[in-house]
């Protein structure tokens, strides 16, 4: 049997923080317990590119000192957090799971790293991902894949597979990932944890290595909705260093968690694209029933352009990525291949440094932007994006939230989809639209499907209504099937 034992540390992040602040629990003890869990099982999971043993211990000790001195150490005091390895951590390697950035140490911290530190959190490690966040299984990592802790022959999803697995495996109570087309929600669903993509602009992207700038957002993984709310409150809010960041304070989420869904209108999309497995569909139907039971009205709505999201995304995201990844040229940082002239150096560096999926998307994106093709591809995709947003807006005239699958299937076996890129892209069918529209979306575990593997149910609400989304999520969590 290759299954991993459930987390030994049962404490939620919220509880850890309360106890550490009260002096009842030492941050040093917490981090040691988690480091021990990592030590015991990381070789089976491979969630991390780098475990920050010394740094985490030092930070935990600093938190304990601050508590002893009577300082307010923040809402995440002593809580270990795993960071996807595409978030800049000063002086600590940030690789994006790519050879081209192997060993690169950023000279600055991402804004969310600063905010986590200010909240008293302890960064415990940098987690594995699909290279440059491009993928849905974490099989595109240049440093080996991550295994789903619930079944190590299966994928944890992607691209934030390492972060999802780290929480599922009990290596940290919280993790941060990034979501461009579903890269938090889909792995959350496959690993049986909560995963949130907030409204675009709610969390600063400064220091997040860009994949697709108009789609990327940072968000949390947690065991429960309350923990996800806690960390999102700590990291969200306007950042003058990110011009696309919303001019608002931090999200306020925890206050609505007990409100329930009585009187809310929940939308079921009638023209959702097909492709979801029957076991997933069954759980989603159960979710609708549970919400109805809790006093919500389920209303059928149409979002006619929903299915075109995949195409729009796979033209827009690679186009932006082809530009964002052009800076990896061997000149100023990262890997450089030897060559007799600069142009040859560019070509050799990028050809050797990037993996196959990254190169594939760069070429697709370059083509979509190129002279003569812009209007047919990238330009047209931007219009489709607007059309999808219009359809969602029309739906929200009738409902307060939308519910649907997060992933078309439960965790699939490693190697199942690697031969055919399109088959992998289809994993994002249900998650993509919320990235295109910028609306907040999250996945909540809701029972199991085939082979006893977890199913995630996705909730989407209008932009800036993240609290409402959490409200629905909390209710679903309360009514989730036992298994």
């Amino acid at each position: 049997m290759s299954d991993i034992a459930p987390p030994t540390l049962d404490l939620r992040a919220a509880t850890i923080a309360v106890r550490v602040r009260a002096g009842e629990l030492s941050a040093a003890q917490v981090v040691d317990d988690y480091l021990a869990a990592i030590d015991a099982h990381e070789t089976d999971v491979h969630a991390f590119n780098l475990v920050l043993t010394d740094e985490a211990r030092a930070r935990a000790a600093a938190v304990d000192d601050a508590v002893a001195a009577g300082d307010d150490v923040g809402p995440l005091a002593g809580v270990p957090v795993a960071l996807k390895d595409n978030m800049c951590t000063r002086g600590v390697p940030t690789t994006c799971s790519s050879k081209i950035l192997e060993g690169w140490r950023p000279p600055y911290d991402a804004t969310i790293v600063d905010r986590l530190r200010d909240a008293g959190a302890v960064v415990i490690g940098k987690t594995n991902l699909d290279e440059f966040a491009m993928g849905s299984s974490t099989e595109n990592s240049a440093f080996g894949r991550t295994n789903n802790p619930l079944d190590v022959t299966r994928v944890p999803g992607g691209s934030s597979g390492g972060s999802a697995a780290s929480v599922a495996a009990g290596f940290a109570p919280l993790a941060l990932g990034s979501d461009t087309g579903g890269s938090i929600r889909q792995p959350a669903a496959l690993c049986g944890v909560v995963g949130v993509k907030p409204t675009y602009g709610a969390v600063s992207r400064l220091g997040l290595v860009a994949f697709a700038s108009s789609l990327d957002q940072i968000g949390p993984f947690a065991h429960d909705v309350a923990d996800a709310a806690l960390v999102l409150e700590a990291i969200s809010g306007h950042d003058p260093g990110d011009s696309t960041s919303i001019d608002q304070g931090p999200l306020e989420l925890t206050t609505v968690l007990e409100h329930g869904v009585d009187g809310m209108r929940i939308g079921r999309i009638t023209d959702l694209p097909e492709g979801a497995d029957p076991d997933v569909v069954e759980r989603v139907d159960q979710a609708f029933a549970a919400l109805a039971d809790a006093g919500a009205t389920i209303i059928d709505v149409s979002v006619p352009a929903f299915g075109y999201g995949l195409t729009a995304y796979y033209l827009i995201a690679p186009a932006e990525a082809s530009s964002n990844l052009a800076r990896y040229d061997g000149v100023r940082f990262g890997m450089r291949a030897e060559a007799p002239d600069t142009n040859a150096m560019y070509i050799a560096t990028r050809t050797e440094g990037f993996g196959a999926e990254v190169k594939r998307r760069i070429m697709l994106g370059t083509y979509a932007l190129s002279a003569g093709y812009y209007d047919a591809y990238y330009g047209r995709a931007l219009k489709v994006r607007r059309r999808i947003a219009q359809d969602f807006a029309a739906a929200y005239a009738q409902v307060d939230a939308l519910v649907m699958p997060a992933s078309p299937s439960v965790a699939f076996r490693a190697g199942d989809k690697t031969a055919d890129p399109m088959s992998m892209y289809l994993c994002d069918t249900y998650t993509i639209p919320a990235n295109l529209t910028g609306e907040p979306a999250m996945s909540v575990p809701f029972g199991t499907g085939a082979d006893g593997l977890p199913v995630g149910v996705q909730i989407i609400t209008p932009a800036l209504h993240d609290a409402r989304m959490f409200q629905v999520a909390a209710e679903l969590e309360r009514r989730a099937p036992a298994s």
Partner: protein, 496 residues
């Protein structure tokens, strides 16, 4: 054999008449200019690194400047305001604008894309009047970031060719630029030079840039084509490396002649970018447009729309100083000269027009003052040390005939050397006294009597003969006679 090789090196055309259109072998030239201007700001366009010159390499850098992973641009408000000022001074419409990425690889381009403005630039549809009275239309002016600087090691003359490696300094990367694009309205090298000079004066006047071509804070590229008058536009070439106003004129003239020579023998002009070589006086192929990269412009997703509201636009407009053209009008009216006369142009260029007006306001003679200022104040700067009142006094003495022109110049020299003074006291010091008219006439009569031959020649119409007579009077008066007055008397006597 290609006839271009035998093309004579162009001589300086600075003395050419403004009004004469350029023409060569029946062709006219069509010229548009693209001018890049470094804005005067404290920080860079998209990051808060200092905007300074001469610092040690790579000391004004930050994640945005270096294009590090995860870095994000944030727009500099002062740069936007400078672009608005500059645009308004060029009579442009200020509009809602967006930023776009221009994607290409080059080592001094840290992100491998430049953030610029493409579809929606901040300034459009302006114009600029040049000295010969023509109006040159300006299509657009937009914001963009500058690149770093590369130096090449091991090749001849620091060129890329034959170099062993290159070194990159990113201090300049990210500095705010405005690119000003004219319509192809110019028809001669002179017009192009006048456009550049006037543009420069405007940029300095509004404080947008110090616009020094030699230092690279203003860079001019010329698009040149030729055609038979009335025909369609010919193929154009872009000329780069124009480092002075003079080069602009020389290069454009050379390039137009080069193109005419090709067309004359039935060759087609190839659309390309050419490099002007100041030393050999020719343009040379830099790269052909067919090889040019596809820049794949798309809207910059990391930045948002810039839409200045009416209040901001109005306050910027209200803060604009009087522009050079208006200042020339104003000064010309005060001194009774043409706005494009040399004295008016020079004095306004130096920023000394308000000074001349102040002399007039102090009851001085502004027309005399402008002559003195033009001649003696080359180094005086825009706030001349000599108090306007002092110069006013001097001009009053001249108008009253109390001193000669020569004496006035001497007094002026003393004023300039001492940053002011009392002209009357200085005159007294030097023993300058007003010369009595009858005294003067007596001396003139004496000179006529002493040189009858010169007088006869003068009466016969030889104006030059007056010289000997005037000289004699000056000698007799020990330099105190006013040469002009002597000539007037001589002419009076001749016609009597």
């Amino acid at each position: 054999m290609h006839p271009v090789a035998s093309l004579a090196v162009v001589t300086d055309t600075t003395t050419a008449d403004h009004a004469a259109p350029w023409e060569h072998e029946g062709y006219e030239m069509v010229v548009g200019l693209e001018v890049h201007v470094e804005l005067d700001t404290a920080t860079k366009l998209f990051s808060a690194s200092p905007h300074r010159f001469g610092d040690e390499p790579n000391t004004n850098i930050d994640p945005v400047t270096l294009g590090l992973p995860g870095a994000l641009p944030v727009l500099n408000r002062a740069a936007v305001e400078q672009a608005m000022r500059l645009g308004m001074a060029l009579n442009c419409t200020i509009q809602r604008s967006t930023f776009a990425r221009k994607n290409y690889f080059y080592p001094d381009m840290p992100k491998a894309y430049q953030i610029s403005q493409y579809d929606e630039p901040i300034c459009v549809d302006g114009w600029l009047d040049i000295a010969d009275g023509s109006r040159i239309e300006i299509e657009r002016a937009h914001l963009e970031e500058d690149t770093g600087k590369s130096t090449h090691v091991g090749g001849a003359g620091g060129r890329i060719h034959g170099s062993e490696h290159s070194l990159i300094d990113f201090n300049r990367a990210g500095i705010p630029l405005v690119e000003i694009v004219s319509r192809p309205d110019m028809r001669s090298p002179e017009q192009a030079r006048e456009y550049v000079s006037e543009l420069r004066a405007i940029l300095i006047a509004v404080g947008a840039s110090d616009a020094k071509m030699e230092e690279g804070s203003m860079r001019v590229d010329a698009n040149v084509s030729v055609r038979r008058p009335g025909a369609e536009l010919g193929t154009r070439c872009e000329i780069k490396n124009l480092n002075s106003v003079r080069s602009v004129g020389r290069a454009i003239d050379y390039e137009a002649r080069r193109q005419v020579a090709m067309l004359d023998v039935g060759d087609a002009v190839r659309q390309e970018t050419r490099h002007w070589d100041e030393n050999d006086g020719r343009t040379h192929t830099l790269r052909s447009k067919e090889d040019a990269d596809d820049y794949r412009y798309f809207l910059e997703p990391d930045l948002v729309v810039v839409d200045p509201d009416a209040a901001w636009i109005d306050s910027v407009r209200a803060s604009l100083p009087m522009l050079p053209a208006a200042r020339r009008q104003q000064l010309a009216a005060a001194v009774g000269m043409e706005p494009d006369s040399e004295a008016v142009r020079v004095v306004v260029d130096r920023g000394q027009d308000n000074y001349v007006l102040a002399v007039g306001a102090a009851d001085g003679d502004a027309a005399r003052a402008i002559v003195h200022v033009k001649e003696a104040y080359a180094e005086a700067g825009d706030v001349p040390p000599v108090p306007a009142g002092d110069l006013a006094e001097l001009t009053k003495m001249e108008t009253a005939g109390e001193i000669t022109a020569t004496q006035a110049k001497e007094i002026l020299t003393v004023l300039v050397d001492n940053d002011g003074g009392d002209p009357r006291a200085i005159a007294a010091d030097k023993g300058f006294e007003a010369m009595d008219t009858s005294e003067l006439e007596a001396m003139v009569d004496a000179a006529i009597e002493a040189q009858p031959d010169a007088w006869a020649k003068f009466c016969a119409g030889e104006k030059k003969a007056a010289g000997a007579l005037v000289g004699a009077v000056m000698k007799a008066s020990k330099g105190q006679a006013d040469g002009k007055a002597v000539n007037i008397l001589l002419n009076q006597k001749r016609t009597q």
